[in-house]
C-alpha cells in the first residue's frame, strides 16, 4: 500500500473530505479534535516531515493547514481543520509530538489568538513586549 492509501485507510474515521487538485498536492480535512491523532500517524508512523502550519481567519472560523511533506515522492499532504468557535478558538497542540512545531504554534497563537492546548511554552515569539494584548495582527476583524 502506498502512502496515500495508508492514510486513507488508517484515518478513515477522521477524514471529512479529500481533495487532489494537482499532482503532488493533497488537501484533506479532519475535525479539530482529531488533529493530534492525525499528526501522530503522519509524523511518527509514516515518517512524513512537518513543513509548516498556516492559519487564517475565514468567515466560517479559523482554518489551519498543517503541511506535511513526503520527501520520497515530493507530495505535500495538507491537513485542514476548521475551528468554528471564533470567540475563544482552541485546538490541541502538536508540539508534544515533536519539538519542530513549537515555534509555529506560538506564532499562530500570537497572530491569530488561537489557544494551543497542551503547548509547553506558549508565549510571544515575534511581537514586542509592549504589543497590546488582544490585538491579533492577522485577524481581519481587530
Amino acid at each position: 500500500m502506498d502512502t496515500k492509501e495508508r492514510i486513507k485507510e488508517r484515518l478513515k474515521a477522521n477524514i471529512i473530505s479529500w481533495d487532489e487538485p494537482f499532482p503532488r498536492r493533497i488537501y484533506f480535512s479532519v475535525q479539530p479534535k482529531d488533529i493530534f491523532d492525525t499528526a501522530r500517524f503522519l509524523f511518527k508512523e509514516l515518517g512524513l516531515r512537518f513543513a509548516i502550519a498556516s492559519g487564517m481567519e475565514t468567515p466560517q472560523g479559523f482554518e489551519i493547514l498543517y503541511h506535511f511533506s513526503d520527501d520520497k515522492t515530493g507530495i505535500m499532504y495538507s491537513v485542514r481543520v476548521l475551528i468554528e468557535d471564533k470567540q475563544s478558538p482552541q485546538i490541541d497542540a502538536i508540539t508534544p509530538l515533536f519539538p519542530g512545531a513549537e515555534w509555529i504554534e506560538r506564532e499562530m497563537w500570537e497572530m491569530l489568538g488561537i489557544n494551543f492546548v497542551g503547548h509547553p511554552n506558549l508565549k510571544r515569539l515575534l511581537l514586542s513586549e509592549d504589543w497590546p494584548e488582544g490585538n491579533y495582527p492577522l485577524r481581519h476583524t481587530t
Partner: protein, 402 residues
C-alpha cells in the same frame, strides 16, 4: 559547582548582521541551556502581502532576506503557478533555465558568504577576506544577468523579467572557470587543515534523530544524514534535467556542515554550466493576466533549506492569505539541542553553523536571569572561539599562519 553565568550574544554584534538575542546559560565552561529571542526583524510581510497585487508581492518578498534574495520570490511565484497548473505547464522553457541559473548562482554566493563568516568566528580572518573577495565575481555575474548585485527582481508569475544575452554567456563561463581554483583553495584549506578538523569535528553535533524531530532543513539536515533536497524531491526549474548530486554527510557536526556547503558549490557550478549550454531560444514570459481562485504551495531549495510559500486566492488580483516559511525558522530552533552540552568557546560557531538568516525567520533568544552574573559580551565570545583555535594549533604543532 553550580554557578550559573549568563552569556548574552547580541542583540548587536559587529559580525552578526541581524540582531538576535541568544541567551546562553552556562555552568563553568559548559552551556546548559539556551534561550532564543527573535522578533527584531518582524515587519509584518504576510499581512502586507494581502494588500498588494500579485506582481507587487514578488518585490515585497524579495526583501524578506537579502542573502536568499531569489529563493523567496521563486517560491512565491511557484505557489501562484501551482494554482495555474504548475510551473512546467505555465512557464516557457528558456525562463526555466534562467530561473535555475539565478537560483544556483545564489547558492554559491550564499555559501561563500557563510564560509567567510565562519572563518572569522574561528579566527581565520584570511578565509573571511578571501571568501568575500571571491564572492565579488559571483555578484558581478548577477549584475550582468539581472542588473543588480542583490535584489534581482527576476521572478514574475509566468516567467522571468530579463533575458541572458548571447554575448554574455562566454563571459559567464569564463568567470565560472576562474571560480574553480578559488573553490579548490577553500576545499583544501578547510578539509585538509588538521587544525580546522580538530576545531570543528564533534562540535555542535545534531544527530539524525534530532534533525528529524526538529524538522530541520537544508545543509543542516544533510550534514546529519537526512537525505532531503527539494531540487530532487519535488524538482523545479530544470533541476531534474541536469546532472548533479545531493551531498550528504553523516556526522552532524560543524565540520560536516562545512563540507556539505563547500561540495554543494561545486554541484551548483556544474548545474549553471549545463544550463548555459542547453538553454533553448524562445520567450521568457507567459504574460499571465489572471489568477483563478484556489490555493497553492511553492517550495524551493534555498541555500539554507526548503523555503515554502503558501498562497490562497479568491479570483481577485491579490492573495487573501500568504504564508511564508523560511528555512531558518526550523533550523534556528534546533540550536536548542545543538549548542547545549558544548563549551562557551564553541557557542558562536555552533550558532552560526545553521547559517541563520534571521531576517527570514526572526530568531529570538530569550535570556533567563541567573543568580551570580558574570556577563560576557559577544565580542569576548568570538575571542574565546578564536583563542581555542590558537590553542589547538599550538597543540598540533602547526607552525602555519592563518
Amino acid at each position: 559547582m553550580s554557578h550559573k553565568v549568563i552569556v548574552p550574544i547580541g542583540p548587536y554584534h559587529p559580525l552578526q548582521e541581524e540582531p538576535e538575542f541568544f541567551r546562553l546559560y552556562v555552568e563553568g565552561e559548559k552551556v546548559v541551556d539556551i534561550d532564543i529571542i527573535i522578533g527584531y526583524n518582524h515587519r509584518g510581510i504576510e499581512k502586507l502581502s494581502e494588500s498588494k497585487h500579485f506582481d507587487q508581492v514578488a518585490f515585497l518578498v524579495e526583501r524578506i532576506c537579502g542573502i536568499c534574495s531569489s529563493s523567496h520570490p521563486y517560491a512565491y511565484v511557484l505557489a501562484v503557478e501551482d494554482i495555474l497548473g504548475g510551473e512546467a505547464k505555465v512557464v516557457p522553457e528558456r525562463a526555466l533555465y534562467i530561473r535555475t541559473v539565478v537560483d544556483e548562482l545564489q547558492r554559491i554566493h550564499s555559501h561563500l558568504l557563510w564560509l567567510g563568516l565562519a572563518g572569522h568566528f574561528i579566527g581565520y580572518n584570511t578565509v573571511w577576506m578571501w571568501a568575500w573577495k571571491y564572492r565579488e565575481p559571483v555578484l558581478d555575474m548577477f549584475e550582468m544577468i539581472t542588473g543588480n548585485r542583490n535584489n534581482y527582481a527576476m521572478f514574475k508569475v509566468g516567467g522571468v523579467r530579463r533575458d541572458i544575452k548571447d554575448e554574455d554567456i562566454p563571459v559567464l563561463h569564463k568567470t565560472l572557470d576562474e571560480l574553480v581554483p578559488a573553490l579548490n583553495m577553500f576545499k583544501g584549506a578547510v578539509m585538509d587543515d588538521p587544525v580546522i578538523r580538530a576545531r570543528l569535528k564533534r562540535v555542535g553535533v545534531l544527530t539524525k534523530e534530532q534533525a528529524i524531530e526538529w524538522c530541520v532543513l537544508g545543509p543542516t539536515a544533510r550534514a546529519s544524514g537526512v537525505d532531503i533536497d527539494i531540487r530532487r524531491d519535488e524538482p523545479y526549474g530544470v533541476c531534474d534535467r541536469l546532472d548533479w548530486k545531493v551531498i550528504i554527510e553523516k556526522d552532524g557536526d560543524i565540520f560536516a556542515k562545512t563540507v556539505v556547503r563547500i561540495l554543494e558549490m561545486y554541484e551548483s557550478l556544474r548545474m549553471i554550466r549545463q544550463c548555459l549550454d542547453a538553454m533553448p531560444r524562445g520567450p521568457i514570459d507567459a504574460d499571465i493576466k489572471d489568477v483563478p481562485a484556489g490555493e497553492g504551495i511553492g517550495r524551493v531549495e534555498a541555500p539554507r533549506g526548503e523555503c515554502l510559500h503558501y498562497i490562497k486566492t479568491d479570483g481577485t488580483n491579490r492573495p487573501i492569505r500568504h504564508k511564508i516559511r523560511a528555512p531558518s525558522f526550523m533550523n534556528v530552533a534546533s540550536d536548542k539541542v545543538a549548542a547545549v552540552g558544548g563549551t562557551i568557546s564553541d557557542a558562536t560557531i555552533t550558532l552560526a553553523a545553521v547559517d541563520p538568516c534571521y531576517c527570514c525567520t526572526e530568531r529570538v533568544v530569550v535570556l533567563k536571569k541567573a543568580d551570580n552574573q558574570k556577563v560576557m559580551n559577544g565580542w569576548d565570545l568570538i575571542k574565546l572561539s578564536q583563542e581555542k583555535t590558537e590553542q589547538l594549533r599550538k597543540a598540533l604543532g602547526d607552525a602555519r599562519g592563518k
